[in-house]
């Protein structure tokens, strides 16, 4: 597609359940990023994928969070045993290469009740 696509756009889940968030980057973009945006805060880096290199997971807040990128394209962010503090907007972005402007998707708004 022409832009970064994220699904679902909204997700309400019960505390303790697992959730999967999906990101389709722009075709041809080798770099893919996940950020989290909590109410009242800026964008918090979570994880980065670049080509076939090992991902940088340094921003993941706990071992309940994981992400994968299959075939260098689609990425899935998984949150296990969700907690209320996981409630936020999860943003995916892609870029043509490193040190280049990101294009963001519209995000997935996650609410844990």
């Amino acid at each position: 597609g022409a832009g970064v696509s994220q699904s679902p756009s909204n997700k309400v889940t019960e505390k303790g359940k697992d959730v999967e968030l999906r990101c389709d980057p722009i075709s041809g973009h080798t770099a893919l990023y996940w950020y989290r945006q909590s109410l009242g805060q800026g964008l918090e880096f979570l994880i980065y994928f670049q080509g076939n290199s090992a991902p940088d997971k340094s921003g993941l807040p706990s071992d309940r969070f994981s992400a994968e990128r299959t075939g260098g394209s689609v990425s899935t962010l998984t949150i296990q045993r969700t907690q209320q503090e996981d409630s936020a907007v999860y943003l995916c972005a892609s870029s043509l290469t490193v040190n280049y402007g990101y294009t963001f998707g519209s995000g997935t708004r996650l609410t844990v009740v």
């Binding site: 805060q41 880096f45 490193v98 040190n99 990101y102 963001f104």
Partner: protein, 113 residues
């Protein structure tokens, strides 16, 4: 994405006036800077970027100024329009050849008709 909350610095301007949004960045080694605009319910949208070997860059109705001496970045919007109302984020790339953008906390711009 959603607006980041109730306690953002807010700039209120009259339609047609010029707007200046300021940002202090943290790392003197940062070599790449970007301004993003985020409207309610959407992901951040790229506006303009600048590299550290420049001190000014102009786009359509927007100008970014970089003062490396005091680690300050500003975004100037000429003839502000109602459609410019949004939250604006600056972002810095703190390391040469790094991929990770560090985002500021944002400024809300309100345009009065």
């Amino acid at each position: 994405g959603e607006s980041v909350g109730l306690h953002l610095p807010t700039l209120s301007v009259q339609e047609g006036d010029n707007s200046i949004i300021n940002c202090a960045y943290s790392n003197s080694a940062s070599d790449y800077f970007i301004w993003y605009k985020q409207e309610s319910g959407k992901g951040p949208q790229f506006i303009i970027d600048i590299r550290s070997n420049m001190d000014k860059r102009q786009g359509q109705r927007v100008t970014v100024l970089l003062n490396k001496t005091v680690k300050h970045l500003s975004l100037q919007i000429a003839a502000t329009q109602p459609g410019d109302s949004a939250v604006y984020f600056c972002a810095e790339n703190p390391l040469v050849s790094s991929y990770k953008l560090i985002f500021g906390s944002g400024t809300r711009l309100l345009v009065r008709p």
